[in-house]
Symmetry: C2
Subunit: 372 residues, 2 copies
């Protein structure tokens, strides 16, 4: 079903944005989409935060010919969990991205060239600061709920911590209060692959080359971490791809290899390598226990009703990291629910376990709305 919607909208911020690094940055364009209608009381706003490679196009199709709808179409739309008949939904592309919001591939007006590696290194908190500017621009003072999975969940948590007066409820899904050493390790190797590609040219590849092999390798590494041992066994087992017997050559034999190759290649078509560097670095920097001294200190000012959701086979942001958030919130007497969804899909479960996640989120939103 098509969601009634407009083309992506753009909001320009000319005031300098002070980043976590201390640097000021301007000008800034934010690409966002809105779905549904703002209620007269302006109390039905959901802010959806996207993950590493997502964008502002959260649901629906721009035209019936579009191959795919927005990235969370199975959750967002009329009559769906994030019901556009009830809620006014906002989703914006993060700063540093490559899907409309200013990022390293944007033109620096001072030089007339792409920022490339002169773009400032960002944090998750910076992404949230930009979203706050967007809400101010839209005249929205309160969010019924801010929701996100993975990096989006980090943003949701950061919203609750940084703007307690704005956030009535927050859903932190398949996420964590800090990026683990193992997750940093995978991100580091992915960045290394990109920067080792001769097509990278120290980030100044625009209009010339694309570090496609490096970006493809980074994406393949990512994909392995989004699945699970079990889901890969179920999906691919040791099946050969389009052959009856081993090739006895060094080329790909197995279905799992072809899958990764395809995913890597498709990613290069749609994502900017420099954005991949900046966003993974922002994830690596995310560390609320480190920043505030402890997770308890970090959550101290939260006033939002919180829900934390993890998935049993997610080994990139394992359930124990979700439980750490929940325990800190409980120790601080906050209103928090926790749900670990049994799933074999690994980290990707947050996009795939629609039915289970819907049930949880629908009742959470209902309570959040009623309680005010």
């Amino acid at each position: 079903m098509l969601v009634e919607k407009k083309w992506v909208e753009l909001f320009n911020i000319s005031d300098p944005l002070v980043l976590e690094s201390g640097k000021s940055f301007s000008p800034l364009t934010v690409a966002y989409e809105t779905l549904g209608h703002l209620s007269p009381k302006r109390d039905n706003v959901l802010l959806i935060c996207h993950a590493l490679t997502g964008d502002s196009h959260v649901a629906g199709k721009y035209s019936p010919d579009d191959k795919k709808p927005g990235w969370w179409d199975n959750m967002v739309g009329p009559g769906k969990t994030f019901d556009t008949n009830k809620y006014y939904i906002i989703c914006s592309n993060i700063i540093g991205g490559c899907r409309g919001t200013t990022g390293p591939g944007s033109i620096n007006p001072e030089t007339g060239k792409e920022y490339a590696l002169s773009f400032p290194v960002l944090t998750v908190e910076d992404m949230v600061r930009v979203q706050k500017k967007l809400l101010d621009h839209l005249g929205i003072e309160r969010l019924l709920c801010v929701v996100g999975g993975s990096l989006g969940g980090m943003q949701a948590l950061a919203w609750a911590v940084m703007y307690p007066e704005t956030v009535r409820s927050a859903a932190v899904i398949a996420s964590a209060a800090y990026t683990s050493a193992q997750a940093i390790a995978f991100n580091k190797v992915g960045r290394n692959a990109i920067m080792s590609d001769p097509g990278f040219e120290n980030g100044n590849y625009y209009g010339k080359s694309v570090p496609e092999k490096g970006l493809s390798i980074a994406r393949m590494i990512g994909h392995i971490t989004y699945l699970s041992d079990e889901s890969m066994r179920k999906k691919f087992s040791r099946n050969l791809q389009a052959r009856d017997a081993k090739s006895f050559e060094l080329s790909d034999d197995f279905a799992v290899e072809s899958y990764l190759e395809y995913q890597g290649g498709a990613f290069v078509e749609r994502f900017d390598a420099n954005s991949y560097l900046y966003i993974t670095k922002a994830m690596d920097y995310f560390d609320f226990p480190g920043k505030y001294g402890s997770l308890d200190a970090a959550v101290k000012n939260i006033s939002a009703k919180m829900i934390v959701v993890s998935f049993s086979s997610d080994w990139l942001f394992p359930p124990y990291q979700s439980k750490e958030i929940v325990k800190a919130l409980m120790r601080s007497q906050k209103d928090v629910s926790y749900c670990e969804i049994e799933s074999s899909y690994g980290h990707d479960a947050f996009l795939l376990e629609v039915e289970k996640l819907s049930r949880i989120m629908e009742s959470f939103l209902l309570t959040a709305r009623t309680e005010e």
Copy 2:
């Protein structure tokens, strides 16, 4: 303590070796080392099989100035678990390797140039066939025990299946009867990184370049899979490397990143990229259930006393894969012991949990020796 030992020995095979692929290969040089003394009855022979990046230098130092002893020195030597006062120990470099035994970096006598990618694609069974030729050459008809971890454990299992009349006992440590889709996926991405490196030159880089960035990336990916989330947390946490605060640059900030960078760089110094391709491919091809129709069928002819050892946090060759071997052996009424060692070290535990592994292996060897 120095183990009494000679320099690496070489054995030349001129008869063609028929490989699993059906191809014949010759000539072949095998690099091996022996420790201890062969008993008059020739009944005290231990064959140790090395893992992906190991070699024939299993223990001791060649000279007191050597920086490091052989790779399993904490287990092999006078008075140690694999006691060179009791046992005659043989360890040979696998075919396809780069540490003395013929591999893709060896000179093809027909062309006078390195084989490079004209080297035949191998299997674990081929590695074992070459070791059998070595034993024949040494006049050894029976092995008291064949033991190995990881890829070495695959060889130990293959020995028990392929040469039941030769193997009195076998120890399969941190290993599996087949490589999983997830493990294939990691190997594929590593190979891809090597082959994408412009220094790779389709394998013909000898004397010219080294695909160092690609090989380093492959090694870094490998290293992540050898550790565990828990061991990385304990070892690195989110510690910064040689700095007090985040750099807000795209370069490495964290200790875990420096560790991987170091491991990647060190590996390039000692390992041939083409060997990495061939050996990981051989691992990917390893599949006893697939080859024999079922794991039960594969183990049917085993007459060796078997021990299977896994490590709780090993997610590259998880305990469930060891249990599959054990269950198949039990269903076939074979003599099998199983031990899952509690450890946070991940796959690397097979090289690090020396005390626990020693206790298990010493009693296993004692029984194996007594029972004959």
